[in-house]
Subunit: 251 residues, 4 copies
Amino acid sequence: MDDFDIEYVAEPTLEEPVLIEGLPGVGHVGKLVVEQLVEELESQLVCELFSTHLPPQVSVEDGITSLVSIEVHAIETDADDLLVVTGDHQAQDSVGHYGLTNAILDIAAKFNVTQVYALGGVPTGELIEEYGVIGATTTEEQQAPLEAAGVEFRGDEPAGGIVGVSGLLLGLGKRRAVPAACLMGETSGYLVDPKSAKAVLEILQELIGFEVDFGSLEERADEMEDVVRKIQEMEQSAAPAPTDEDLRYIG
Amino acid sequence: MDDFDIEYVAEPTLEEPVLIEGLPGVGHVGKLVVEQLVEELESQLVCELFSTHLPPQVSVEDGITSLVSIEVHAIETDADDLLVVTGDHQAQDSVGHYGLTNAILDIAAKFNVTQVYALGGVPTGELIEEYGVIGATTTEEQQAPLEAAGVEFRGDEPAGGIVGVSGLLLGLGKRRAVPAACLMGETSGYLVDPKSAKAVLEILQELIGFEVDFGSLEERADEMEDVVRKIQEMEQSAAPAPTDEDLRYIG
Amino acid sequence: MDDFDIEYVAEPTLEEPVLIEGLPGVGHVGKLVVEQLVEELESQLVCELFSTHLPPQVSVEDGITSLVSIEVHAIETDADDLLVVTGDHQAQDSVGHYGLTNAILDIAAKFNVTQVYALGGVPTGELIEEYGVIGATTTEEQQAPLEAAGVEFRGDEPAGGIVGVSGLLLGLGKRRAVPAACLMGETSGYLVDPKSAKAVLEILQELIGFEVDFGSLEERADEMEDVVRKIQEMEQSAAPAPTDEDLRYIG
Amino acid sequence: MDDFDIEYVAEPTLEEPVLIEGLPGVGHVGKLVVEQLVEELESQLVCELFSTHLPPQVSVEDGITSLVSIEVHAIETDADDLLVVTGDHQAQDSVGHYGLTNAILDIAAKFNVTQVYALGGVPTGELIEEYGVIGATTTEEQQAPLEAAGVEFRGDEPAGGIVGVSGLLLGLGKRRAVPAACLMGETSGYLVDPKSAKAVLEILQELIGFEVDFGSLEERADEMEDVVRKIQEMEQSAAPAPTDEDLRYIG
């Protein structure tokens, strides 16, 4: 086994696809978007990426185990074809983040990907009313169409830069001359945030031109609203409020 | 010295053996089972696995030192031959867990192992009355015979998946097409748990068809009962109760 | 991508240049000096050094991303030519510090660098009146000219040695027979310290014989004075004083 | 630069020398013994061992820097020749401990070392009256002569085994068939302990047959006695006692 090991299970013919990455992160925004795409549209598992820099772990579903991996699915839409990248875990260390990203870009090169979108959340520290989507790109040319679709560019935001595989898809993508953009939904940062995911997904629809059902994302958003309402009631009553830590990634 | 170094000391002829792994973990359940097998049945050291990813340490017995290693013993039974894997330590990092597991599967391949059992404990957080054994497998076919022997499959349990070498024996075993199952004895998680080990060992006997004396495991269980009783008395008296940390792995 | 990857963007002809390193560190002294040189003199980006041992991160400026890197700029002065090394981050681990330093020394060798200056701050733990500059060198011959320029040598100071890339430029430089010296401006250690940077820059001017405008460094020093004054007023009033952590790297 | 890099500066002709290792550790016992040998007897630097797994750091003495290294000195005595190994730092990680130890054993092989002594301290947690020296060996044959010289073997002590380079010199030495023993001076574990070092040095003299002046070790022991006395006075007075942390490695 190599440190980074791509195992192909299908080799679909895709026409200059767009790659969309949504690994776990702030508010699980990127992961929620990509899960929605894989579940609601017709998707095909293309390959799994295994690595000694991912956690040494299997998940269990109906008593059957699956080794921790990054999965790449192909989706054919009326508009551009998609390659979507997701998983339940990030790399364990810096070398792992670089290696996974390079492997993802190798897969992108194999399928002649013309554009990379890395999805994520940007924490605001407070509950959100209007869900803005902030952008960052590897080149200036990408910004006008993104702005036309509703993405905001705010100078040097996010101030701390973009970390992990999302950041490196832009950093290493730029070195490999693949146009790449990061779309970050605003989110409190305290909770899994389907509303932020919906805002990002609306932008993606507009940009790429496909349509997807929002049903399950809206359901999940309603569930989270209930959670938030209960928290607010608890705060107003005498009960001690849950800490930030309690709220992080409820759901 | 390579990062993962197998040193063979014997090359017994085994017929399609079953590999049983019991490294330290929750309640030391897996390790207790495997120690019982090595001590009570006629066993032969086959190889030691050394690694720069194990702790940089020697143990001392009668003033003689032994380098930290994973040991593999061969046991011939009336039923299937066994290869049992144990040791006093886990790997220090993720790369180590993957590397050790691959080395163990290399050993399994050399001896034409037909089935892998990874043993462990699953923490319940409370003292146990009935010791259930939960299973997870790499393939569906393995589940019926395990259920017949008393193993329970409970949907997505354990919720956190299975970590370390036990988990990877299934994760990497599946990729190498070796049937592998994990048997996890329920245990409080606070104490070394010979009773949970006994429950797992009874399942193994049934599955494989060998017989082993339970004497020393039962003795050890009685000792632990005394420890638990004293703790309960202390809790009922005014003395401050020992913390979880105090109780962890007493014995 | 290699673990340490030098990407050349220009190959200027330099005559036996002096290499000056200023990465982030105590009081950001070295980084401030090098930024001043790059901004005030005519500079040209020569190469970027990327590494899997740097943080997995991009920075964002005007919505455009840049992968974390170490940058090397060439500056032609009336006196010696300069190669200046800077960046926003240090390596993440020990192997990274060694690897980055060796890559920097490879660049130095390519341009026939005759002298290396590693710049930094030495923390005194108290606010400074007179900003001394302490030196350490790989060879005795370097000390007389440094002392003539105002650098102090104080026996075994700094007591804890010199860590990170600055330290290794001397440690590995000595092994490669490149004369190397470390110039450390005294600084409280609590704040970004443009005054300490100015003291180091004055020494460099004297040593190498170039001239640079101090304007922006002095402006920044004035801003920091305001910060310090406000802190002192807060301390004298009843308000709870900011902690050391609050003050670290304000600015 | 390799990960582990031996740089020879002299190649003395030694007759079947004994290798003695004393790196920093509990009570600095091993390091104190080896420093005494290098200072009091005629010693010659044979090689330095550099590694990317040692701290990225230089020390400074009279303004001149030295890269962190492990040093090996040769000492010719009336009895056996000695190769003594010391330094100011341990490796940073498990891979580093294994790699440094293998490099030391490569040096031992080059000079046909016939016996390895790894020196250290064993913490007792209380102030010591009689300084015992506990032993551990790779083979039984080594124990009788050690016992005759006053070394005690106490079953499975030290219970936690022996960690770091000292432990691995036995663990990896055994695999390379070099007789190796660890001599551990009892020490409180709270303070640098020259008395414990003296007890270990007396055993070494007896074993190998050389003689060395104890002057500076005894001086240092007297200084430490003063420190301990002051601590005891402070404890008896109303002043709050220094914590364990305060006392660790005073001196």
